[in-house]
Symmetry: C2
Subunit: 162 residues, 2 copies
């Protein structure tokens, strides 16, 4: 209980710090938001790399891409976000949609549509965490998140083929 | 286990982000370090305020200042840093020294004297957490930390009398 609160509070502070810091810089509004998202995503990326290394150090290797995605949805999600992904969909061509109906980092915000505009900044770090984990498992990807009703959230993972 | 790693990794990223960001600003080196410390301390302060509110919501009220400090050393320390303070000293005039022989946020760094110069930046956030907690318990304080041999650490709390 303590640790999760510790993490959640620090996460909130970090988001607000990154945004405040950018506000004091000159530049266009849209550009600033993009910079903030990118900073948070980058932090998440490095954390995701570290986490997956610890988590898989005694695991057998994975069969294929789908096997990796299943691991992300079950073990990794439980390890990081304390619940499993509720639904995983794929087009079998490298695009995956992970639906979490009660995403941890959104549960502190009011449910419903009121703060929908605020959601993206609380998801950037998590997108990075997922991308970092996949990256250390050998998959380059683009990870984005979409919220239509809090605290439910859809992550889209598009694997980049070389 | 997962949550603590999640927190520790995010903490590391945050420290490195705050330092990197200041490096790109113009200004003197000493001044920059002071700004970084102050940013991290400020984040910790707000987190400490939040944590203590949760932790004490069902607690009876405290008898006196020493009673509060004992609570910080036992319950609060365990809640936040997963162990109790090893030793608490006081001059009975508002100064307290809390010694933690194996401080959580230093255990990831090499033990010994090699990285002693790096320690302060990993302690600023924690000093803030303690100061924030005390503040919400009605005690204004100045909290500093000192390391002479990692991962052991001494926090000095000086209560500010009005």
């Amino acid at each position: 209980m303590a640790d999760e609160v510790l993490f959640e509070f620090l996460h909130m502070e970090m988001v607000s710090h990154v945004y405040k810091e950018q506000q004091s810089n000159k530049g266009e509004m849209d550009n600033k938001v993009a910079i903030c998202i990118s900073i948070l995503e980058g932090m998440g990326f490095r954390v995701g790399q570290g986490l997956i290394e610890r988590l898989t150090k005694d695991s057998p290797s994975f069969k294929d891409e789908l096997d990796i995605m299943k691991f992300i949805c079950k073990d990794f999600w439980t390890y990081v976000f304390r619940r499993q992904v509720d639904n995983l969909r794929t087009n079998h061509q490298g695009t995956y949609v992970l639906q979490d109906n009660k995403f941890t980092l959104l549960t502190q915000l009011s449910s419903g549509k009121q703060y929908l505009d605020e959601a993206p900044k609380y998801l950037a770090y998590s997108c990075g965490v997922v991308r970092g984990a996949l990256s250390n498992l050998g998959l380059d990807s683009v990870v984005t998140a979409e919220v239509s009703l809090m605290p439910s959230c859809k992550f889209q993972v598009v694997i980049q083929k070389l």
